[in-house]
């Protein structure tokens, strides 16, 4: 925002007719970015589904080794963080600076909670030698409703490769989200946002919700659908 244009709202850029049009354009642009994110993760989901069809027993055996408690708690943590994000947007719309900052900080803390739990989960994978690479070792069997079936460790390694790529990419998005929301919290505290201008809060919120939605699909696909025993 240049200081020499004080005649009009400094938050309104010259090439927009009014604030509403500017807001709509920003929202539309954000959604276009989110669509590219959906296709980016969609490719990985597609690869996962195809290999799960090809190597079903090994993928089911690998899935049964995941920690459903940590995955479930992390799902709940992300849902609660999505609620704090919408409440932050609502606080921004009402022009409540302290409340907005508070919700943003809580969101960052919840995001970090997710990452810490994810870290413990990864540590468990290292301990069990379920990390793809030279130390990978998989002797567990596929428990098909009580029937123990041997699986090819190479195929199980493929499951864990996809597990680490998909959850790792998601975790990277969480790290970026935490950085983004920390920045927004500082800006909010400094009074950067008003009831008339809080587009970065809204668009940051859209990003956070999309990362939540990706986890909403990762949780059943990786942890749940091969579980029943």
């Amino acid at each position: 925002m240049t200081a020499d244009h004080e005649a009009h709202n400094p938050a309104l850029l010259h090439h927009f007719a009014d604030a509403q049009q500017q807001k709509n354009a920003a929202s539309l642009g954000m959604w276009l970015f989110l669509v590219t994110e959906i296709m980016f993760f969609g490719g990985m989901f597609c690869a996962y589904l195809i290999y799960r069809l090809a190597y079903f027993n090994a993928f089911a055996a690998g899935s049964q080794q995941l920690n459903i408690w940590m995955g479930g708690i992390n799902t709940a943590v992300l849902i609660v963080s999505s609620v704090t994000v919408v409440l932050a947007v609502k606080a921004a719309e009402a022009g409540k600076r302290k409340l907005l900052t508070g919700y943003l900080v809580v969101t960052v803390l919840l995001g970090m909670t997710f990452l810490v739990i994810k870290g413990f989960e990864y540590a468990e994978k290292f301990e069990k030698h379920h990390v793809p690479g030279s130390t990978f070792n998989f002797t567990e069997k596929f428990d098909d409703n009580g029937k123990q079936i041997d699986v090819n460790p190479k195929e199980a390694e493929l499951f864990f490769s996809l597990y680490f790529v998909m959850t790792g990419m998601h975790a990277l998005h969480m790290v970026i989200g935490c950085g983004l929301f920390s920045t927004l919290a500082v800006l909010a505290w400094k009074g950067h946002f008003t009831a008339n201008y809080f587009t970065p809060i809204e668009n940051g919120g859209l990003y956070w919700h999309l990362v939540d939605i990706i986890w909403i699909y990762l949780f059943p696909l990786l942890y749940l659908i091969s579980r029943h025993t």
Binding site: Q20, N24, S27, L28, W31, L32, L34, V35, I38, M39, G42, G43, F45, C46, L49, I50, L53, A54, I68, G72, T75, A76, I79, V80, S82, V83, V85, V86, L87, V89, K90, E93, N145, G205, L206, H209, L210, D212, I213, I216, Y217, F219, P220, L221, Y223, L224, I225, R227, H228, T229
Partner: protein, 110 residues
């Protein structure tokens, strides 16, 4: 399931600035999402045969839809183009998944 409606229907006017709902509404949606999470985790331990993945993905889709419509404010968005972009995004994802899987799932037939 009783799904609370927004207390006032303020989506009719395009110019209207306020797109958010009440705090209670958001908490209710959050509670529904948590209940669905517990439900999908419990159902995973019940043997439904081929329907386990179907139920899990159906619940995930309900959750994702709730987030998109009410947290991301696609329902009641003043910019109607947003809805078009969202639907086209999921449409292309559906093309990617259905055409790829239609190929791989039918290969064993020769």
């Amino acid at each position: 399931m009783a799904q609370p409606e927004p207390t006032q229907e303020d989506n009719l006017t395009v110019e209207h600035e306020h797109t958010t709902h009440s705090q209670g509404f958001y908490l209710a949606i959050g509670a529904i999402l948590l209940v669905l999470t517990v439900t999908t985790a419990v159902v995973a331990f019940i043997n439904l045969g081929p329907f386990n993945p179907v139920v899990a993905l159906l619940i995930a889709t309900i959750k994702a839809t709730l987030v998109v419509l009410f947290f991301m404010h696609v329902k009641g968005a003043s910019e109607k183009m947003t809805g078009v972009v969202v639907i086209s995004g999921f449409f292309f994802l559906a093309i990617l998944l259905t055409l790829s899987l239609a190929d791989y799932m039918t290969r064993s037939w020769r």
